[in-house]
């Protein structure tokens, strides 16, 4: 049905031509579900854009063939391509909310596609659009027709994007990281739905993802891409349990999964023994009856309701839950950027909740409670070099100046594994992993006892995430810090944390030691979360 031979795609940039895809070939049979797996920059998305011929203006297909049902996608006229898009080949994208026109009713956006491909007339467009919404199992489709994207949840938006993609009964569905930015249970719901529809309609699909677990669950065959080339392909079970190519091996190793230690995420030759971290009995931070209520337009919104827990010295506590469960509000209150409505935050017995968040910056304890932010790129000042970023808290909180300050910054860089020559670079000159190191170095600069990690690896590729997680584990053992690790990835929490708290709707629904909560989950919600997480087949020992 689709056959790609030696496809090459290049982009013209200021620094000359950059090839994004360098000669890849694969075939897709009717009804087959193909997965393209790779890390960022591997050219997997570009491949799909090239197939649809929706590359940016500076990109072009340099060589190779792409034939869909006898149509040469490379040579076809733009007019024919337009008929093909949406009717024969459809696409859904990551970040569904941004993928919809923010100021057009979702029903009208579906109608646009139906009308374009002459699947509906002015008279029956509305009715057909509602039918399309019903097909993706949107409840109360009639009312949703008039909704704008901002009025819908992320999962709902992705269903609408699916409705647009499926409205004209295409034969091939391309999914470009369809679940990035969605919660783990929503991810499962959306993927199950799409999979069901694709199978029921006898369509073929291409799933582009960085998540090996997702690909192995929803694909019949996987190709692994690296630097614009296919390094390995095969059935998911075989490919992932006995990867042949070293890159696939590395990718499989780095994917967090059940029954694996944090060191085992790293390539075999880099696995040094992990120093154990000591958990003391003395509590470092006691959270008592913490509540945060916002005044919403339609009455008070309870973001966090009456939660209590204790973090002991040296302990790592995982905080998991879906978006809107209150985990970000909780971490913002703990790091004293947000004032709680009521409750106590006892840090070594001293109640921090009494101090307004606005004044906390001048408190000496500010240096003891630090945070690593979610997006390493956005949380660094783009006009500051790494050195300036790391030195910033030192200048504010300590008396270090001049040579002593420079020495401390260099020490921090070496502790976090940031090469010294990178200290004078700006964020845009650093890779994702290097930026993560700068963020961590900045957070530990004032020798905090308590570090709040807000999904610190969510934006990173798995292999870089593996390195970052190991760095955090090493630092914890070396500096004796306590962590509050906020994450939606239960597999990561399982590896890094001693204790785990599960939140839902602003309340703690489940808590306890990691082994107890995760291996024999007693609470139904915890079980639901665990089941929604895609699992990678565990590789056999033989390489």
């Amino acid at each position: 049905m689709l056959s790609i031979k030696d496809l090459q795609v290049a982009f013209r940039t200021r620094k000359g031509e950059v090839s994004a895809v360098r000669g890849i070939s694969f075939e897709l049979a009717r009804g087959e579900r193909l997965g393209i797996v790779g890390e960022s920059g591997s050219g997997k998305s570009v491949t799909s854009y090239a197939l649809m011929r929706i590359l940016d203006a500076n990109g072009r297909i340099k060589a190779g063939d792409a034939v869909y049902s006898g149509i040469d996608l490379r040579k076809a006229a733009e007019r024919d391509m337009r008929d093909l898009r949406g009717r024969e080949i459809s696409m859904i994208f990551q970040n569904p909310r941004a993928a919809l026109n923010p100021i057009r009713k979702v029903g009208h956006q579906i109608e646009d596609v139906l009308r374009q491909h002459a699947r509906a007339t002015r008279q029956d467009a509305r009715q057909k659009a509602i039918a399309a919404l019903e097909a993706v199992k949107i409840r109360d489709a009639e009312a949703r027709y008039d909704a704008y994207p901002f009025e819908l949840s992320g999962g709902m938006c992705q269903r609408v994007v699916c409705a647009i993609a499926l409205a004209c009964d295409p034969k091939l569905m391309i999914m470009d990281e369809p679940t990035t930015g969605l919660d783990i249970t929503t991810q499962k719901a959306v993927m199950d739905l799409v999979d069901e529809l694709v199978t029921a309609r006898g369509m073929s699909s291409i799933l582009i993802t960085h998540d090996l677990g997702l690909a192995s669950e929803y694909c019949d065959r996987i190709v692994v891409m690296k630097d614009g080339q296919i390094v390995e392909e095969g059935a998911p079970q075989l490919l992932l349990s006995a990867p042949q190519h070293p890159y696939t091996r590395k990718l499989v190793d780095a994917t967090p999964r059940r029954g694996v230690t944090i060191r085992e995420l790293l390539p075999q030759e880099e696995r040094r023994p992990l120093a154990p971290h000591v958990v003391a009995e003395t509590p470092l931070l006691e959270v008592r009856n913490l509540t945060k209520t916002y005044q919403g337009k339609s009455g008070p919104v309870h973001a966090v309701r009456d939660i209590s827990f204790t973090i002991r010295e040296g302990q790592s506590v995982g905080l998991v839950g879906e978006s809107g469960c209150g985990k970000s509000t909780t971490s913002a209150m703990l790091v004293r950027l947000l004032d709680p409505t009521s409750g106590q935050l006892l840090y070594r017995g001293e109640d921090l909740a009494q101090m307004p968040a606005a004044d906390f910056a001048r408190n000496p304890l500010r240096g003891k409670i630090q945070m690593v932010f979610q997006d390493a790129t956005d949380s660094l000042n783009p006009r500051h070099t790494s050195r300036q970023s790391i030195a910033e808290p030192l200048k504010r909180m300590t008396d270090l100046r001049g040579a002593a300050l420079a020495a401390r910054v260099e020490e921090l860089a070496s502790v976090t594994g940031l090469p010294e020559h990178l200290l004078d670079r700006f964020p845009h000159q650093l890779s994702g992993g290097q930026k993560a190191r700068v963020g961590i170095a900045r957070a530990i600069a004032t020798e905090p006892d308590f570090l709040i990690l807000d999904e610190p690896t969510a934006a990173l590729d798995v292999s870089i995430q593996a390195v970052a997680l190991n760095l955090l584990a090493d630092l914890r053992a070396r500096l004796g810090m306590s962590y509050l690790f906020v994450s939606h990835d239960l597999n990561v929490v399982r590896m890094l944390c001693d204790h785990v708290i599960v939140m839902k709707g602003g309340e703690i629904v489940d808590a306890g030691p990691v082994e107890q909560v995760m291996d024999s989950p007693s609470h139904p919600y915890t079980r639901e979360l665990l089941e929604a997480a895609p699992q990678v087949p565990i590789p056999t020992a033989a390489a």
Binding site: R85, A99, N101, I164
Partner: protein, 341 residues
């Protein structure tokens, strides 16, 4: 819809304290102007007594608070006082001059939008092409040439050299009679009266000053349109629309342009405000009987009532304009008034 309605209502309510603030400030500012109005009006030959007499008759001998109270009372009755230099009620003079300024400004803005928005859209769809370069050139020329200079050049070329433009003396050549006053906008009044000869006469007078102002306002509008279109065209939803096979026209206008309109409308509001204040230069060059030249003349002779009236009517206009912009926003953007915006 409820949230939107509330937001609009709130927006209107917000205008009230702003207006009161403007009344206070304009009142105080005019009092703070250098020069003694009483001495000015009494004339050069006045004695101490006659100056005092004028002061009493103008109410200037009373304490500021009392003066302000009197002023508020007058305002409530729609009385803006009398211009001491012309002897006319300020409100009447403003009523005849404000439409002149508004007509000129609106005409210039419509002209400017008609050129700038398509130009910006074209430039954004073909970055680096000749349209883009032309856009850049026009924009640079537009901002770098001061209005009084372009005005004079246009008069020189089209009136003096080519002789195709009428003499740059006001809103209507003396051979025409003013159209019957309905809105004060000559183009509209003439059209309402069905007097097309006068309509063309008024249009001819309007073209050169309108062009001058339009050139000046072209730059921000074209640049904003281009930038907004570029970012809209690279947005995810445009990619979705393309991937769904929508026709380029639909993608460009239905998806990208409507989203790009939001920042353009904001810019338009800003441009309108500053042009309304800045067109005094154009009014001077073309002897346009507008509100700008009126205010400058009043200011020179410390004509309290006239200056206050001017400031107040401008403030009213700005508040109204911002209201219109926000209402336009609420029409274009469904997120208006909700937490998403």
């Amino acid at each position: 819809m409820g949230a939107r309605g509330t937001a609009i209502g709130l927006r209107i309510a917000q205008a009230i304290p702003v207006l009161f603030g403007v009344i206070v400030i304009s009142f105080l500012l005019t009092r703070a102007l250098p020069g003694d109005p009483a001495a000015q009006f009494a004339g050069a030959m006045a004695t101490e007594e006659s100056i005092e007499q004028v002061r009493t008759s103008l109410g200037l001998d009373k304490p500021l608070v009392t003066q302000f109270g009197l002023y508020l009372g007058q305002l409530a009755r729609g009385d803006l006082g009398q211009s001491v230099s012309t002897g006319q009620p300020v409100i009447e003079e403003l009523a005849s001059r404000l439409p002149a300024s508004l007509e000129l400004t609106l005409f210039a803005l419509i002209l400017s939008c008609a050129v700038a928005i398509p130009l910006g859209v074209l430039a954004a769809t073909r970055p680096g092409s000749w349209v883009d370069q032309l856009c850049r050139l026009l924009v640079t020329a537009g901002v770098s040439l001061p209005t009084f200079f372009t005005g004079i050049v246009l008069v020189y070329v089209f009136y003096y050299l080519l002789g195709i433009a009428p003499s740059p003396l006001g809103r209507l050549d003396f051979i025409y009679l003013d159209p019957p006053h309905v809105t004060g906008f000559f183009l509209i009044d003439a059209a309402l009266a069905g007097d097309w000869e006068t309509w063309f006469g008024a249009l001819k007078q309007l073209i050169l000053p309108g062009l001058t102002l339009a050139l000046f306002t072209l730059a921000p509008i074209a640049r904003m349109t281009r930038a907004a279109m570029l970012s809209a065209l690279s947005a995810d939803y445009v990619r979705t629309a393309r991937a769904a096979g929508l026709a380029p026209r639909k993608v460009l206008y239905g998806y990208a342009f409507r989203n790009a309109l939001l920042p353009v409308v904001t810019t338009l509001g800003m441009v309108f405000s500053f042009v309304l204040g800045a067109n005094v230069l154009v009014e001077k060059v073309f002897a346009w009987p507008g509100i700008g030249s009126y205010a400058v003349e009043a200011l020179v002779v410390s004509d309290y009532a006239a200056v206050q009236g001017f400031v107040l009517s401008m403030a009213l206009l700005f508040v109204l304009l911002n209201l219109i912009i926000d209402l336009a926003y609420s029409v274009i953007d469904p997120r208006f008034g909700t937490s998403a915006k």
